[in-house]
């Protein structure tokens, strides 16, 4: 099976030998419908798990009735979920029952001149992969194998590849999502924001959201705290070109012109400094660079910001004063997905500086210091040292990137004259790169240059159509996984245990990684054959056991000595080079970047074009839930939000299907128009994750439009390589729909 494949084709439907068509089980017929039967709910059984649908990993219980899936409910002891799951977690049952799931390992073969997938045994698939990896290691070096990972199972493949000899592991959540904010806060406070965010929202009296659409992004604990804060009467200031759910619960909604948030932040900093509203003691004791900052923002008055942002000067002053009034219980939220315009590290840093001036870092109602737990791992041999890493592909670029750039690895897969080698193999775990990475045309070009593409996934997402080998993993409801160790208000450990046996021929990632390790002679890096023993080892090290965790699900690791906030007048050393909060960043200065954020004008959409903004919906987790039977009916397709006056000009009616075309002439699928007052005239908005093109995803296929396809242009953040994606402009094409 080592035939050299011609140019890679996208295999739309599973080809040769896929067995009989799977008929969707009639779920409702399996259960009794009478009320009386439902009354006996006490006799159900439950298994502890933590959700895999988003990174929040809420711990909960999977309930079964007569061995059949019933419902998923939160674990009362879990600090992440506080006993209540979000809609995606509740709908997790659908991930298990989805009949479109990958069922058997697939191998790309050529049949009658066409490339199709052949169902193969695990042995055959894993041997193929191991052979190829060895081959590539010999010809090019193990460093030319990269891992893209998102999800709980990624750590096993990380371990495997580190043992194999490569540290080129990228999570798209870095350069495509929260990377700039981690670096910005690291540069300013010496510590990243972390995940989950260390924002003390529930105690906050003033919450400033820049583009964060809490309530539409359903980060469970955060939304819970947000609604509690709103109920407590906290002032919310939302800066968003769109009237989001969060904006509707805000005291102030600032419909800012997209691309100009940094100007607003600088104006706020100006007001707070020049009206002397900052926390003088805090700034004196804990920060450096105040005088430089004061000088730098001298000209950033609200009057200066007004024509740039279209926010009136008195509103800028009013909101700044409101923030200061409630300080230090004021949070200028760092956001999460912040890769917008290419200067994102600087923009988020401006927010960090504002937090520092208000004295909210390390103070109640601001940002707390999360309690952390350490759970020992069983010892394994040392990893070999790789001779090079991805950074070598981008000399002198992105000096402050702390994690690998997915987009970088993608770029470095395309052969180029400036590089003497490029990536040859990708292992893609749980991330649909086609819809995740911007500039999908580049992703596809990179894929064509690979000698091996392995996709490990649960659903036949688009990336699997391009793979050489597709390995079906079972869902989180059918497997054990490594412990979830969460920092937060209280550190906790959560167990994931299987509620069901793996369906079809799917296997857990731990088994897959270990089997590969065996074939590569790296077994000693996976000392335990059964993951249960590995878990038991770790749990016993903290005074618990697998048995105990199966009964309780979540164990809190209390540390009564941990302090969440700075004591009054306490001396504290921050993790920055100077040991203080750096309003003026010495590191940035050293690397030749602006030590204090400076506003630069961003390109605006040409006439007849509108900036493409994207976001989330609370019942979906991007592409991975669109096909979920329970969740797809809550939102089948996305809509493009168009300003009412703009729609009138174009003659677009509410509910009409139109096609979007971006500045590079790329067209989207027809998408329903939502004509609304809730968005500015110079932007359009849609929820990310729709527009699937893989026919095997029956509920997701051709529903809505894919925004990532329209993101054919990015602006790279020179500091850490984040891909700014909100720099694409679209126009409307009515006739094509």
């Amino acid at each position: 099976m080592n035939s050299k494949m011609k140019r890679r084709e996208f295999i739309k439907i599973a080809g040769a030998g896929t067995g009989a068509m799977v008929v969707a089980p009639k779920l409702y017929a399996e259960f009794g419908k009478k009320d009386e039967e439902l009354l006996e709910s006490g006799s159900a059984e439950r298994t502890p798990t933590y959700c895999e649908i988003c990174f929040w990993k809420c711990a909960g219980w999977v309930y079964k009735k007569d061995g059949k899936p019933w419902k998923i409910v939160g674990n009362e002891d879990d600090p992440n979920s506080r006993g209540r799951f979000c809609p995606r977690g509740t709908g997790g049952i659908g991930a298990y029952t989805d009949p479109d799931r990958l069922k058997k390992p697939l191998l790309r073969v050529e049949k009658n001149g066409k490339q199709v997938f052949k169902e193969v045994s695990w042995d055959e698939a894993l041997n193929f992969i191991a052979d190829k990896l060895r081959d590539i290691a010999q010809k090019h070096g193990p460093e030319c194998v990269a891992l893209f990972s998102h999800g709980s199972g990624g750590s096993y493949f990380k371990n495997l590849l580190a043992a194999f000899g490569t540290k080129n592991v990228a999570a798209p959540s870095y350069a495509q999502c929260r990377g700039p904010r981690e670096e910005a806060y690291l540069l300013t406070f010496g510590d990243g924001v972390g995940s989950p965010e260390r924002t003390d929202i529930v105690n906050s009296k003033c919450l400033v959201l820049l583009g964060s659409h809490i309530g539409e992004n359903m980060h469970n604990g955060q939304v819970q705290e947000f609604s509690q804060a709103v109920a407590n009467g906290a002032t919310v200031i939302t800066v968003d070109p769109r009237f989001s759910t969060a904006a509707s619960k805000s005291k102030y909604w600032l419909p800012i012109k997209p691309g100009t948030d940094l100007a607003l932040l600088l104006a706020w900093i100006h007001v707070i400094i020049y009206e002397e509203l900052y926390d003088k003691d805090y700034v004196k004791k804990y920060t450096i660079g105040f005088e430089q900052l004061k000088q730098a923002v001298k000209h950033n008055t609200p009057e200066w910001a007004y024509p740039i942002t279209t926010i009136k000067p008195h509103i800028i002053r009013q909101t700044a004063r409101e923030m200061a009034m409630h300080a230090p219980a004021t949070i200028v939220h760092p956001g999460r997905h912040v890769t917008w315009y290419g200067d994102d590290t600087q923009r988020v840093r401006a927010g960090a500086i504002l937090n520092a001036l208000l004295g909210s870092w390390g103070r109640r109602g601001g940002f707390y210091f999360p309690a952390k737990a350490h759970v020992p791992k069983p010892p394994i041999p040392k990893y070999p040292k790789p001779r090079r890493d991805w950074r070598k592909a981008f000399p002198d670029q992105f000096p402050l990137a702390n994690l690998a750039l997915s987009s970088g690895i993608c770029d470095a897969t395309i052969p180029s004259a400036e590089r003497n080698c490029s990536f040859k193999a990708w292992i893609v775990y749980g991330t649909n790169l086609i819809q995740t990475l911007p500039q999908p045309q580049k992703t596809l070009e990179a894929i064509q240059n690979l000698e091996l593409l392995v996709a490990i996934d649960i659903l036949p997402a688009e990336i699997t159509g391009w793979a050489d080998v597709v390995l079906p993993e079972c869902t989180y409801l059918e497997r054990y996984d490594d412990l979830r160790i969460s920092p937060g208000r209280v550190a906790s450990v959560a167990l994931r245990a299987p509620a069901f046996k793996p369906k079809y021929d799917s296997k857990p990632a731990y088994w897959i990684a270990r089997e590969l390790a065996k074939r590569l002679g790296l077994e000693k890096y996976f000392p335990y054959e059964k993951i249960e023993d590995y878990l038991d080892y770790r749990l016993k090290a903290i005074g618990s056991s697998l048995e105990e965790m199966k009964k309780i699900g979540v164990k809190l690791i209390e540390n009564p000595e941990h302090r969440f906030y700075l004591e009054e007048g306490e001396d504290y050393e921050f993790g920055t080079p100077s040991g203080k909060i750096e309003l003026y960043s010495t590191t940035l200065a050293d690397y030749g970047f602006d030590p204090i954020p400076r506003y630069t004008h961003h390109e605006e959409p040409p006439d007849g074009y509108y900036r493409l903004l994207y976001g989330r919906a609370p019942m979906h987790s991007f592409g991975r839930t669109i096909n979920n039977p329970n969740l797809s009916q809550l939102m089948k397709e996305n809509e493009v939000w168009i300003n009412r006056k703009v729609a009138e000009q174009w003659g677009i009616k509410n509910g009409e299907y139109i096609v979007l075309e971006n500045q590079d002439g790329i067209r989207s699928r027809p998408i329903k128009a939502k004509v609304t007052e809730r968005i500015r005239h110079d932007a359009v908005f849609m929820v990310h994750g729709f527009g699937h093109s893989d026919k095997r995803l029956h509920r997701a296929y051709h529903r809505g439009a894919d925004d990532q396809k329209l993101i054919s242009r990015v602006k790279l953040d020179p500091i850490m390589g984040g891909t700014g994606m909100r720099v694409n402009f679209v126009t409307f094409r009515k006739e094509e729909a």
Binding site: Q633, L634, M635, G655, K674, T676
Partner: protein
């Protein structure tokens, strides 16, 4: 500016975007109910006036069709049920507040009575019919003995039956288009009108046809009056009722209603019958057929339009 959207959930089949609980079965049944009400009423009425021989078609022939028509109607009702195996539950209780309940019981009475009523006439027409069946003979005897009480019963029952088809719909106050007390009398009058049309078609006697033509004219005029008042009432009522009326005044039902029901089904037959009264010779089948067509289309439209009208989230996802 108001923007309302059901953003998640609902879109239940048959409920959204527009209610579609009842298809053709119910309008067909309502039409048959009205038709039978008309047939039985006139049969009983002229029987009690001892004009049975004079108006043979009305008194003796038309009622022969009542039992089979009712059977079709009841079968249509049965087909409409979505939980068919439990249909018998309908007859285990009577719920006075539910028009559907006492309508079911009324039908329970009318159906056997109409069979009884029809038997003697059937015997008249076909003397050999079931001559040897003991039960048939017994029942025919009974029918002849109790003809008068049955006729009186029919006067009341047919009015109830005719009205009930309209009241049934108007009891559903959640459908603004049906939420008018005029619907009961309208369907009653329409039912009687279709009854007379049916009799006209059956009758071979010129005199009888003339009489019923005149009766029909009066009924049609009443119907027109009621329809106009129904719309006036809607337009003078709340927003939801106005929107319901607008379905017919510029909305999707405008053309079909005013053409087929109002013009062809009411005005044209009225004019034709008037002309005939004045002596112009026109085949009498024309207005009769038009009235019957108008009657059935009226019920189809009313049942459909009612389901299109609602209090909340009209024509929205």
């Amino acid at each position: 500016m108001k923007e309302i959207q059901i953003t998640s959930g609902r879109m239940n089949p048959g409920i959204d975007p527009v209610l579609h609980a009842w298809g053709w079965e119910i309008p067909l049944y309502l039409f048959i109910g009205g038709l039978v009400a008309g047939i039985l009423f006139f049969s009983a009425l002229f029987y009690l006036r001892n004009e049975g021989e004079k108006y043979k078609a009305a008194v003796k022939i038309a009622p022969l069709f009542a039992p089979p028509l009712l059977a079709i109607g009841l079968f249509a009702l049965f087909l409409d049920l979505s939980h068919k195996l439990y249909f018998w539950r309908l007859y285990t209780t009577i719920r006075l507040e539910s028009p559907m309940s006492w309508g079911a019981w009324t039908l329970m009475l009318v159906f056997p009575l109409s069979v009884l009523w029809a038997l003697p006439f059937l015997r008249e027409l076909y003397p050999g019919f079931l001559k040897n069946c003991k039960l048939a003979n017994l029942l025919t005897e009974w029918a002849q003995k109790f003809a008068k009480p049955i006729a009186w019963a029919f006067i009341f029952l047919s009015i109830i039956l005719g009205m009930y088809t309209g009241i049934l719909l108007s009891a559903f106050n959640a459908r603004p288009f049906w939420n008018t007390s005029i619907l009961g009398p309208l369907f009653l009058v329409s039912g009687f009108s279709t009854g007379t049309a049916f009799i006209i078609l059956l009758s071979k006697d010129h005199h009888e046809r003339q009489l019923f033509s005149k009766i029909d004219m009066g009924l049609i005029a009443t119907e027109i009056f009621l329809i106009i008042h129904m719309f006036m009432g809607f337009l003078a009522s709340t927003q939801v009722h106005e929107d319901a009326a607008k379905l017919f005044l510029g909305g999707p039902y405008t053309a079909i209603f005013w053409t087929f029901v109002f013009t062809l089904g009411l005005v044209v037959p009225l004019i034709v019958e008037l002309m005939e009264w004045r002596g112009r010779k026109i085949p009498i089948a024309i207005p009769a057929l038009l009235v019957l067509m108008g009657g059935i289309i009226l019920r189809f439209i009313v049942v459909d339009a009612g389901q299109s009208s609602r209090w909340l989230y009209r024509f929205m996802k």
